[in-house]
């Protein structure tokens, strides 16, 4: 196995790919850190009783979900500097993919919030909790548990989406693989190894999401 690995690429080329993988994982983490709270906030805003707030949030969700992530990324990285706002590639990636994640996961959060039985809110109200503390301590924890399998599933899409950052020259896994390919002309080898790295993370995580989903539906 290690003989095969050494035959395919040099040790420093593996290091280069691994450093790219780390960047991909770091971007995934930052995007989730920004995008998941945003998604939760958007879900609450869409459910708001105020029509302008609800419609505004819904319009934002539909636009950020409706355009391809690559277009949103280009808008942030190439479009904003022309208006005087220059972001680093990492900041642009986190902002654009985070907005996309927020829009997508708001639908997951919205369904989960609706799935918490009404009686829970009523019980909290009868205990004298304010609406905010009822939401924070009673409704949200239950909704998060309901949303968890789908959120784990979505985080795989975020990880895969980091490959789009090739277009903005962020040194993530695909960029590193392409760079090695362009110096060695062994594109097929190095891209296949990069693909295997993506799969080695995405497949176990998606199986974990499937397991969570089955456990959840078995309980209900």
């Amino acid at each position: 196995m290690s003989a095969l690995a050494a035959f395919l690429l040099d040790a420093d080329q593996y290091d280069q790919l691994l450093s790219g993988l780390l960047v991909s994982l770091k971007v995934t983490g930052l995007v989730l850190l920004f995008g998941l709270p945003l998604g939760c906030l958007l879900a609450v805003l869409v459910a708001s009783r105020s029509k302008p707030v609800s419609l505004g949030a819904l319009a934002f969700v539909e636009i950020a979900r409706g355009m391809p992530a690559l277009v949103l990324l280009s808008l942030v990285y190439f479009g904003l500097p022309q208006q005087g706002i220059t972001l680093t590639a990492l900041a642009a990636a986190v902002l654009a993919l985070g907005l996309n994640t927020g829009a997508y996961t708001s639908e997951i959060f919205r369904a989960a919030l609706r799935a918490v039985p009404r009686g829970q809110r009523e019980a909290a109200a009868s205990l004298g909790l304010t609406r905010l503390s009822a939401f924070r301590t009673i409704v949200l924890p239950q909704a998060l548990r309901i949303a968890l399998p789908q959120l784990v599933g979505f985080s795989i899409l975020v990880f895969q989406g980091t490959a789009l950052c090739f277009a903005i020259a962020l040194p993530e896994l695909l960029s590193q693989a392409y760079q090695i390919g362009s110096t060695t002309f062994r594109y097929l080898t190095v891209l296949s190894i990069a693909a295997a790295m993506y799969a080695a993370i995405a497949i176990p995580v998606s199986q974990y999401a499937g397991w969570l989903e089955r456990r959840m539906s078995a309980r209900i």
Partner: protein
Amino acid sequence: MLEYLGPISEGIAATVTITALAFVLGSILGLPLLAASRSPWLPVRALARFLIDLLRAVPPIVWLFILFFGLAQSLVSLDAYPAAVIGFGCISAAYMAEIYRAGLLAVRRQQWEAGAALGLNRLQVLRTIVGPQAIRVVIPGAATWAIALLKETAVVSVIGVSDVTFLATSESQRSGDGLLIFLLAGGIYILMSLPLALVARWTDARLHRAVAL
């Protein structure tokens, strides 16, 4: 604004044809993949499962690079456009196989048994009893995938296919008005996905009515 709309909308043809061809290719290739994933023979089943998982686990842009840059040094060299259609066609096959599978699983096992009790063979049961019921589950799922596919195809711009995103990028570099141009491009994608969204919503509502009865 209109000065940008003209050049960008010239990319609609490429975006729509790549999406449509890949979707048709995937819908067809998804069938043998589904059959293989339900084969009684374990190695076939395991191989099909592995293919489905692998096709969905690797980001589409990486598959495109493998087809476009990776194969360029080998015997078969692909242009960007066929690479895009083949790449997204294979990815679609994996997604469609899963959508078909969900459709089949949604039909109760007793329907197969009842068909067999009537003396129909498995193919006849599939064609006349299970298939028509499964299709109700398949159509909304397939429409949802088609919308996702339409947006995913934006990455073909990276290998140089003149789709909406590619033309928006070059127009933005030419004019320096990227914010507006990419918003317009995003709007075009949303408009293109509307008919598919309507199909998904309409068939999904029909499905829920049918199940509720």
